[in-house]
Amino acid sequence: MKLWDVVIVGGGHNGLVAACYLQRAGLDVLVVEKNAWVGGAATSRRLAEDVTYSNCSYVCSLFRSEIMRDLELPRHGLQVIGYEGGAVLTRSGGYLASYRNHDQHRREFARYSARDAEAYDRYARDVTRQCRFIQPLLLRTAPDPFSFKPRDLQELLFLARKVGDLSAAEFARTARFWTMSIADFLDEYFETEVIKAYLALSGIIGTALGPMSPGTAYVLLHHYMGDVDGSVGAWGYARGGMGAITQALASSFQAAGGTIRTDSEVASVKVRGGRSEGVVLAGGEEVRARLVLSNADVKRTFLKLVDEKELPPPFLDRVRHFKMRGSSGKVNIALDGMPDFPALPSGSTAVKGDLHFTDTVERIERAYDDWKAGRWSADPFLDAMIPTTLDPTLAAPGKHFMSCFVQYCPPKVEGRDWTDADRDAFAETVVSQIADYSPGFRDRIRHMEVRTPRELEAEVGLTEGNIFQGELTFDQLLFNRPVPGYAQYRTPIKGLYLCGSSTHPGGGVMGAPGYNAAAEVLRDLKRSRQHMSPAHDVL
């Protein structure tokens, strides 16, 4: 039986990133994926026979440009196009548009409030500062403050120097920023509700918190740290859907000599004497490997794939308490034609970006209250996008596709499992909200695919449908992610590593966990990491 150097459980974007780097380091790497396709939550599928679409994740802006370059993803077909607009439609029939161009965006704010337009410059500067502070930490392993290993001390020193570079006032501001709610943070800049509602989005998307929860200002960074062609904070769209990213990764991996096996679900990680020896597939086949990297989330890895007898009880206890509450759903809609939004000026570029129908922070927070009570919201928060406006190749001429990210959507409905009827009722709230702003919308729907946390878990394998493989709260960041003492991609089992978003720096299609995990593996193997670019400042 072949002995692989590395087998990677799950071909999500992080698994593939790690696979690429390890293969390029001269290791013999196998990726095993349960689905018939690779990509995890970053995939393009077919909806109706003539529409290609991103079925889960839908925005490409966080993916680290260092990785993109190292792995030559553009050569393997990845092309990212920036959003060209966006808008919030208000209940009163008005709108707030967004523009890529800062000055144009500012002018749009001025339509509501001259003061807010002024404040927008300050806001953009302050948020960019926070990004600049955090960005270099993404492609680094988080130091363990309770270890005295030289490398941890050295990394702590790096962190201390980063902090030391801040002026006292900036340090104080940073400490506030990390602990504030996005609502309070925005209140310090803006007076117009719809502007705050528009900007609050980034503080909560994918997060089981409301905009009024402390810590959500930090989450903002997870949606702001990206860049599209050097335009920081811009949101982009991957031509051909999010699958273009993972297909480019797969292609880059295979070009380097790597092997992918699809339709191969891993049933367990084989452990003997505290060391992993490979994996056992669902059909009983054994795949032997010196090292195993799990792209599955921390709960799936340790509560399903590894025999609990192999794990120290305190570790297991922490894994059980790791918070992975699903908070979002997705409704993918194939449309017969471009929907009308009468509130928008004709020919507006606003439709070429994200559309929101929630015009106050309070409405977002109330939707969160529904989630807390175990219900989907009757007035959900939508981040809708019609990618066919940017990429006509996705659908037949005249046909369109609309991606609706829906927040909040609970992993269980008032404590019980989702039923199909629940799912349909959930979808109906989404369609009815859009139809309020787009007459005739219902008639244009050709096909609809609804993903609640139940579907996300079943198809992608995300526990409770949590798209970040674990909440981004302080207790689950940096050296706490996923388990204090095991935040450096290694696990209590020798030879078994984690490389998914359950690890630092967390979720979003960033590729950083896969990159960092690969770096740790190469460190352990004492192999060169020359082909891994260090983080560079894009700001």
Binding site: P145, M180, D187, P214, G215, P314, E362, N480
Partner: protein, 526 residues
């Protein structure tokens, strides 16, 4: 005015006769300074006072428990507080259906009303929280460590805390780093089973704070509570004999003994600043009192934005001060009763303590939800004391006084409080009645202090008795705002000593103590 000898020049003027002002004044007086303390109201004590609210009935004005007057303050002022009480008061988590849980001693040294298993789990969690609160407590009786200018003392204290943490072992350290900014709901869900205990801890973490138990960082409120001590016991509390007014009287006596001159009924109209330096105060009738040192123990927003001449602080700080979140969520209800209320299942001895209505975490969270949108809780959470059981002089013979802190009652109520005051009162009374059947029939008088009333009566902007939200982003070097957080302000000679400064609210005396020490140290250095 209690005394006025017409002097117009002092070494120091303290603005505000609440507990922090009295402590600061006494400290300065004991250091040999000629000190004048001015208080706008006719009585001292601010929120830590006792007043008659119905003929024959007295009550503690806002604070109704003594649980954190700092030992450092007691020592520095030479206080002897034995007359206030010598045994700790219990806490009771009320539940009219399942019966109450009684936490005896200091925050549940002993526990009754739960299964032995649950008692064991609570003891473990209590020990964990206490040891963590202990680490934080060492940063209360000292100025906050300031970024960019860590003093040797700061470094030593931070180092000591780190050593103390490491001594407990790596896993204790990791637990602490993980739990420090988490939410209380997840912590209690992880450790406990009993909803009554969980609800109590959720309540204690969020009392006086605009957060629900599921809000990240809400555990900090519980740490803050447990970092306080009483009768030498961390987490201990008493319902003081003589009321909080007696505590204030002790502080006032210490101040007078230290030579402090106290003038009540003397509001301050302005702080005079000559060439950017604090030089005295101006009274509303134009009289000017000169002093090179002004210690303001009133709300920092009032001090920095209303009393200082325009331009005294720069735009950046002014903006930061204008952003201080300081809108109270807690109301105070006082009831004069002609009979001692009987809370379901609560033994007479336990009724002397603190009774809490917060039957589950979800209940507290649901009570918080409407506060986010400017509505009061339809099913509020409540902390009750019956001070007349400790001190019979508070009510006529046979009667009783009920003092309740009710949450959530937001300062800015949509529709305005005038129109909805009665509806809120009805909600609270109905809730109390469920826990103490027959209570409503024994009411002979009532006083409801809503956040706007608290603002008006006690001069606390927003009716927030912590003088600003006690949330992490408004703590330590960001309390009240960076640039004015080490008690000093950009105006030389002007110091901030209210609960709006580090470490924050509660009747600890520490902001006053720390501010006075900082002012004295600065003088010595100059």
């Amino acid at each position: 005015m209690t005394s006025s000898n017409g002097k117009t020049s002092y070494d120091a003027v303290v603005i505000g006769g609440g507990h922090n002002g009295l402590v600061a004044a006494a400290m300065l007086g004991r250091a040999g300074r000629r000190v004048l303390l001015v208080e706008a109201r006719d009585v001292l004590g601010g929120g830590a006072g006792t007043h008659v609210f119905h003929p024959g009935y007295k009550v503690n004005s806002l604070a109704h428990l003594m649980n954190r007057l700092a030992p450092e303050v007691e020592r520095a002022l030479g206080l002897d507080l034995a007359d206030l009480g010598t045994s700790l008061a219990p806490t009771v988590a009320l539940d009219p259906v399942r019966g109450p849980v009684v936490l005896g001693g200091a925050y549940g040294d002993s526990l009754s009303g739960v299964t032995p298993d649950e008692a064991g789990r609570f003891a473990a969690l209590r020990a964990l929280l206490m040891s963590q609160a202990d680490l934080l407590a060492r940063f209360l009786a000292r100025p906050p460590p300031m970024p960019g200018e860590l003093s040797l003392g700061d470094a030593v204290d931070l180092g000591k805390a780190a050593v103390a943490l490491l001594k407990r072992g790596r896993s204790a350290g990791r637990d602490f780093a993980r739990m420090l900014l988490t939410n209380i709901a997840d912590v209690v869900d992880e450790h406990l089973d009993d909803d009554r205990l969980k609800g109590l801890l959720a309540f204690d973490a969020t009392l006086g704070i605009h957060l629900g138990p599921r809000s990240p960082t809400s555990i900090v409120g519980l740490y803050y509570r447990l970092a306080g001590s009483c009768l030498g016991a961390r987490g201990g509390q008493i319902v003081p004999r003589g009321g909080m007014g007696a505590v204030t009287a002790h502080l006032a006596a210490a101040a007078r003994q230290a030579g402090v001159e106290i003038r009540t009924g003397a509001p301050v109209a302005a702080i005079a600043a000559d060439r950017g330096r604090a030089s005295g105060i101006v009274l509303p009738w134009g009289a000017r009192i000169a002093a090179p040192l002004i210690v303001s123990a009133i709300h920092p927003v009032t001090t920095l934005r209303s009393l200082l001449p325009p331009g005294a602080i720069d735009i950046g700080l002014d903006r930061a001060v204008s952003h201080i979140r300081s809108r109270g969520d807690a109301a105070k209800l006082h009831l004069a009763l002609d009979a001692v209320p009987a809370f379901v299942g609560v033994p007479a001895e336990a009724a002397r303590g603190r009774l809490v209505v917060a039957p589950s975490v979800d209940h507290v969270e649901r009570a918080f939800n409407p506060a986010k949108y400017g509505d009061f809780s339809p099913d509020p959470v409540i902390e009750i004391t019956l001070p007349s059981l400790t001190d019979p002089t508070f009510a006529p013979r046979g009667g009783a006084v009920l003092s309740a802190i009710v949450q959530y009652a937001p300062y800015d109520l949509s529709g305005g409080w005038d129109a909805r005051r009665d509806a809120f009162l009805e909600t609270v009374l109905a809730t109390l009645e469920r826990h103490a059947p027959g209570l409503r029939g024994s009411i002979v008088g009532a006083e409801l202090l809503l956040p706007p009333d608290i603002e008006a009566h006690f001069g606390m902007p927003g009716g927030h008795w912590h003088h600003g939200e006690l949330q992490v982003d408004q703590m330590i070097f960001n309390r009240p705002a960076f640039g004015a957080s080490g008690y000093e302000t950009p105006v030389p000679g002007l110091y901030l000593a209210s609960a709006g400064s580090h470490p924050g609210g509660g009747v600890s005396g520490l902001p006053g103590y720390n501010a006075a020490r900082r002012a004295l140290a600065k003088e010595t250095a100059a």
